[in-house]
Amino acid sequence: MIEVKKLVKRFGLKTILRGLDFSVEPGEFVALLGPNGAGKTTFLRILATLSRPSLGAVNVAGYQLPNQAAQVRAKLGVVSHMPLLYPDLTAEENMRFYGRMYGIGKIEERITEVLEMVGLENRRKDLVRTFSRGMQQRLAIGRAVIHDPEVMLFDEPYTGLDQDASEMLDDVLRTVAAEGRTVVMTSHDLVRAEELATRFDILSRGVIAASTTQKQLKETNLLSFYKQALAD
């Protein structure tokens, strides 16, 4: 579903990604872990078509980046630590706007469907600015799945959420966003990543330094694997 070969990203003279290879099979849920400045967000922004690769081949959902970015975007949903919602519009209006930007037919039905899925149906006429951080994040997930994308990208989705809100988000992420889709998530939160993901890739110094799956982790835990990988 995602195929990245020898990806290099430079900002001026600084090289953030140094020949990164990465691939995700359909249906996989990959957590990208790594220290600050390792290039997680940069990498995710390239997958999201928001940033151009300097060198290398990137293929998402069967389309080549950056040349077929518009096709990729149609199959892509992104949840970042910012909600990407307009505070002066209602939940419903936000959904309608994004629905129209994706050219969705039967838009009103889809809005109701999505709002029900993220549990905000009864708040649909309320302004987003009155929402709590957790509700905004749930609506952001609704926004990201409105066009029923095949690939989901989560960029630190838990930032700024308390324990309760995080748990609720977990639920929504699992059932609404992740199920039946291919997911790549960056996170600092190893515990949550361990619960959600099926594979863990550790990004360090611009390349994938180590990779493991949920199954292989049985005997050890993610934290020790993470520490080990960064120590190498």
């Binding site: 249906g27 078509t49 930007m101």
Partner: protein
């Protein structure tokens, strides 16, 4: 690095909400309209941007009134200058606000993630900005007419104002997209915009003061032509370079 294919790879479960598997990309016009409508309905709820522009415009006019001592004689010659200075100042206020709405909560990324051409975003924002400017002008003109007892509601004058506002919004939208991405943000916009928008402002002043002084339409044709030339050229350029301004 290990390469493992988990079992769920085959036989992926279907989500309950999976309704439409075929994705239609929206047409250029529909997506542009979506952006404009979004901007307008957010604005008509809060009136943050328009009210700020309006109050600011009135303050500018009051300052000009005393700074220039707008008595009957002076007024004749400076009306168009005062109006355009007001529109230009209020315009930067609106442009800044309109772009920071997109920037603050990452909504710009939301727009960039949509499967539409980048120029849709440019035209959507530019037309919204133009509409905001026109609304402010539609309030300032009658107020000014009333305060100074001049009739500014003439079709030819409104045409000049429309042309000038188009050029200003066209360059302003492009430059505010750029300034929003710099360290100095709001401060930078007027500095970038005014020298480049100078032809619009000067040609508009020239044409409107000519019309207000009772000149024949043929006499103001020269500045009008330059205004049209500027509008066409800069819309075309903004269309071509907008990609470079939003990509990373």
């Amino acid at each position: 690095m290990m390469d493992i294919k988990p079992e769920i790879a085959d036989n992926r479960p279907q989500t309950v909400g999976r309704s439409s598997s075929i994705i239609h990309r929206p047409s250029f016009i529909k997506a542009t309209l979506a952006i404009i409508q979004k901007d307008l309905s957010a604005e008509f709820r809060s009136f943050e941007l328009i009210s700020a522009m309006l109050v600011f415009s009135l303050l500018v006019i009051i300052i000009f009134n005393f700074a220039l001592e707008l008595d009957v004689k002076v007024r004749q010659s400076v009306t168009s200058g005062v109006l355009w200075a007001t529109f230009a100042f209020a315009g930067t206020l609106g442009l800044n606000r309109s772009m920071s709405v997109e920037k603050d909560r990452g909504c710009m990324d939301g727009l960039l993630l949509a499967p539409v051409d980048r120029s849709v975003i440019y035209f959507g924002k530019a037309i919204s900005n133009l509409i905001f400017m026109l609304i402010v002008e539609a309030v300032v003109l009658p107020v000014y007419s009333m305060l100074y007892n001049v009739n500014l509601f003439r079709l030819d004058l409104l045409g000049v104002i429309l042309l000038g506002s188009i050029g200003y919004a066209a360059v302003g939208t492009l430059l505010s997209t750029m300034s929003a991405q710099t360290r100095t943000r709001e401060v930078l916009l007027p500095i970038l915009l005014f020298p480049v928008a100078m032809p619009v402002l000067l040609a508009s002043v020239k044409a409107s003061s000519g019309l207000l002084a009772g000149a024949e339409f043929s006499e103001v044709l020269a500045p009008l032509n330059l205004l049209i030339v500027y509008d066409v050229i800069f819309i075309a350029i903004a269309f071509m370079v907008f990609d470079f301004v939003v990509e990373e």
